[in-house]
């Protein structure tokens, strides 16, 4: 059977498209993530009102909302493959690294969609002060990359364990704390008119380190 050139890229692309189609069919994660974001933002706004003069609270609230909205769904990326026993199918058509890269791209796309819904809603409901758009997008983008890389790595590592759900929270927390801290700090700095370079550098370095470690680990993850 003839093969197309550059088959690794084709494989990653095929996995990304499969993930998108599966999510579209089942709405497994997106509905839960958006519902969480909308509900939590609405509840906080009802309780605390608009708070344009509290960038410290706003930046924490934004990242907590994004983090939990995303984690409630992204943790299932590999777990679902295990529970529906389809990971074997994946392993028979792709290398572990290709599988993980496809899922990483899907998690990135998923986060971007969640953010497209959540961030404007957040700004509207909380009455946040005007954004310094370039700095805000830089921090948001790098934070998103780190968030996707860490949740993909943890999802892949815990996929074959018995207490997957409980482990995801426990293993993710130490990996996600630096992302959360830098994200909150950078977002606050852009509202305070301060430079965001330090936080951006930290987020970028963290994303690169996570990605590098992931590439080293993925090929050994599912060896029985």
């Amino acid at each position: 059977m003839p093969r197309a050139a550059s088959s690794s890229t084709a494989t990653v692309w095929a996995i990304l498209r499969k993930e998108c189609r599966s999510e579209w069919r089942t709405r497994y994660g997106l509905n839960a993530a958006v519902l969480f974001a909308v509900t939590s933002l609405t509840a906080v706004t009802f309780a605390a009102g608009r708070m344009p003069d509290r960038p410290d609270l706003l930046s924490a609230l934004l990242w907590i909302t994004l983090l939990f909205a995303a984690l409630s769904s992204m943790s299932h990326s590999f777990v679902r493959e295990m529970e529906s026993r389809t990971l074997l199918l994946m392993r028979l058509v792709a290398s572990p690294t290709e599988i993980a890269l496809g899922k990483l791209l899907f998690n990135l796309l998923f986060l971007v969609i969640v953010e497209v819904v959540t961030v404007p809603l957040f700004l509207l409901l909380t009455g946040a002060p005007p954004l310094r758009m370039a700095q805000f997008l830089l921090i948001l983008g790098l934070g998103t990359l780190s968030l996707a890389a860490s949740s993909t790595l943890v999802g892949a590592v815990i996929a074959q364990t018995r207490s997957r759900g409980a482990l995801f929270a426990g293993v993710s927390l130490p990996l996600l704390l630096p992302v959360l801290a830098s994200g909150v700090s950078g977002t606050r700095a852009q509202w305070d008119g301060m430079p965001v370079d330090g936080d951006a550098r930290l987020l970028a370095a963290y994303a690169v380190a996570l990605f590098g470690v992931s590439l080293l680990l993925y090929d050994h993850l599912w060896e029985d």
């Binding site: 003839p2 494989t11 499969k18 189609r21 026993r85 074997l88 028979l92 058509v93 029985d224």
Partner: protein
Amino acid sequence: MTAAPAVRVGGSKLTHRYGRRATGVSELEFEFGSPGAVAVTGPNGSGKSTLLRILAGLLRPTAGSTTVSVDGRDHRPADRRDVLGFVTPELSFYEEFTATENLVFAAEARGLEAPAHAASAALARVGLGTRAGDRVAVYSSGMKQRLRLAFALLHEPPVLLLDEPGSHLDEAGREAVRDVVSQQSARGLVLLATNDPEEIQLAARRLELHGHGLGDPA
């Protein structure tokens, strides 16, 4: 018409244990060449499926090594998915997708040039052509088994590993298995893990695993 590839599949001092539990895969020495079919037999729990998983590169043996070579080129365990098709009861499909969508995904991930054509040819070969557009969720056990066979044939691999291929199949399905084994035996190598006397008859050679069955606790 291209010549059939020369395939060799072998194992040297191949041993696998699950913790302290031994299997029939113990100090195994074997080598089989194409064309033809080999029946891997032995009692339940003797390690037939384990052996196929090791050959497929899905399981690392406790000791020893395996070789899979096609036209003189050795394939490392991690790269064997390109040259072999694997049917096993453990293989499941995405139930929210149709049979065609599952196979098109597999063909795209394998980097095949015409995924839709490969999927439809494989489905037709196992008699699922008319139900190709149904979601896998509504498939019966027998239809899922046929789909596993189609999945293994998708990229026309020179090596076919079949673990209990006739399970859940009706007579027409078993006939499809016989056809596949017969055609594949002529153009490559088939390893058939089974205890079904009819399926054993499909193979001219045999590899008997001598475990005690249901796992040797020793």
